[in-house]
Subunit: 316 residues, 2 copies
């Protein structure tokens, strides 16, 4: 369930655009106004506001925000204002760049979005960067990591619910054999995780658990020093327990000395319209502190305000 709160009576996009235009004018920017509008509109509404803003003021709203704002607050407002596909494209591009290389983000985007959402992100990537996500990933990775990531971002997965139990049984056996042999980058293992539907992978991993008495991630636990194995675990976690995967990203971002604002902003902006309520629940369960309180303790100012607004805790 989404945490985003949209008022019962949403102003017309024209009114929102006008208020935003005013917020940029004069001495200083009215950050509170920006939050009170943008952090309470869904993707369609934000997109209308951008269209109207461009038509009425002949300016790109995103460029205006970029010019007026700065730091973590700017990044949060920008990421949030994007539509989901555009935002994923932007995050994916960032993570293939040399200086910000972050293979986790690629796994996260490839594995927690639906097949169609991910395809839209790849289309947005192409139209924005004039390259394909696949070529960038292939170019910037190597070895086992490329062997896993490239098919992961390439496949247009089947998204249906049907599962083939016979196949699940035989592929669970293959996974178990490969993992016992410590052949974590085995062709078959990668083929199964990168091409099967999420429902089918779920069935295979359930069979694994039933037949071998423990989940596949527990088998992988011992080798968690290795980056490749870490990514493999993230793939599985994203498929099976996305809310726990995101809880962990948040936990690590917040507990880090100095807070990892990139991770925090990414999870809040990408999940506020999707499953943030569930992630908040997992966060409380795992940390015994509500997420909004943890964020309020670690951040401040406008950045804190927009994160709390997106979490549905404007007055926390």
């Amino acid at each position: 369930m989404a945490s985003l709160e949209v008022p019962a009576n949403v102003p017309l996009p024209e009114e929102d655009a006008e208020q935003l235009h005013k917020a940029f004018k004069g001495w200083g920017t009215n950050e509170g106004m920006i939050i009170s509008i943008l952090a309470h509109r869904n993707a369609t509404q934000r997109s209308f506001i951008r269209d109207v803003y461009a038509a009425n003021y002949n300016k790109d709203l995103l460029k205006e925000l970029d010019k007026e704002l700065s730091g973590d607050f700017e990044r949060a407002v920008m990421l949030w204002t994007f539509g989901p596909a555009e935002r994923d494209a932007y995050l994916a591009k960032e993570s293939t760049k040399m200086f910000t290389k972050d293979n986790w983000v690629l796994v996260e985007i490839a594995c927690t979005r639906s097949a169609l959402e991910f395809l839209s992100a790849k289309q947005a990537y192409q139209s924005r960067y004039k390259t394909s996500l696949e070529e960038d990933v292939a170019y910037h990775t190597s070895g086992d990591i490329r062997k896993l990531l490239l098919p992961l971002v390439s496949t247009f997965r089947y998204d249906g619910d049907e599962v083939n139990m016979t196949l699940a049984r035989s592929e669970a056996k293959i996974l178990h054999k490969k993992i016992e042999e410590k052949a974590y980058a085995d062709d078959d293992l990668i083929r199964i995780l990168t091409t099967r539907s999420k429902a089918q992978i779920g069935a295979t991993l359930n069979h694994f658990n039933n037949s071998f008495g423990t989940s596949i991630t527990k088998f992988l636990k011992e080798y968690s020093g290795n980056e490749y194995v870490q990514l493999l675990k993230a793939v599985i976690k994203c498929f099976t327990y996305p809310e726990k995967y995101f809880e962990k990203v948040l936990r690590q971002a917040i507990n880090k000395l100095g807070t990892d604002e990139w991770g925090l902003t990414r999870v809040v902006t990408t999940r506020a319209e999707v499953d943030m309520e569930r992630i908040k629940e997992e966060y409380l369960r795992r940390n015994s502190v509500p997420l909004d309180r943890a964020i309020a303790k670690d951040t401040h100012g406008d950045y804190e305000d927009i994160l709390l607004a997106l979490l549905g805790h404007d007055h926390a």
Copy 2:
């Protein structure tokens, strides 16, 4: 979230009582009518129907149901028609009887209900059986199992959200020490689990996980042959992941050769008004088959119909 579906326009209790009265009349009983009424009324509505039935027909609705129905269907209708406290009292009584001894049910009731709900169940137990749950548990158990169960069912736990992080840290250390010493029935370990609030136990177990790199249940996994350790694990599971605990009870009930109708009926009737939607989600995730389909495959007739109705799948 509850799976129970109540129609937008609920008939008056008088009308429901009259329809039920008719359903018992003439040749055979109209089971479909019983399901269409009772399986679509919440606890308050069912209680009104019972009151009106008693007033208008001078008969106890539960006794009528008992007389007219039989087998698994009867048990499901009876358990469901009870109010939550009465039902818990009945289940607890069953589970302390010699022939049906089932310590799991006691753990389940003591650990997944709120403090007030559990207190109401104990009050219902006393008014119905003229004994206290505590004395029955004490009388029918012994050794380590009594040492754990008796305080578990005795404590009126604090139900607040506040947690003391310093305490969580020190008690996590105690738990770790005791478990490393394999002192699973240690006084302190039992004191912590049976007297601390659920929120505080959650914080302690989170600290355990953070400090020792793995959850307490993984430490206990190796000793799972032992009934006492099994119960200890159930206590922890009920506190931390009730939806997973119930998913497992359902999975084991359904996968058993011949289906364990008692477990199945218990979970469906006790959770339909509480968190059955979440349990269904966990069931699908862990078994790759929707719960309603699994139940439809394993049960039949009126019994199947009432279970599916309570799951919100009348027309499955």
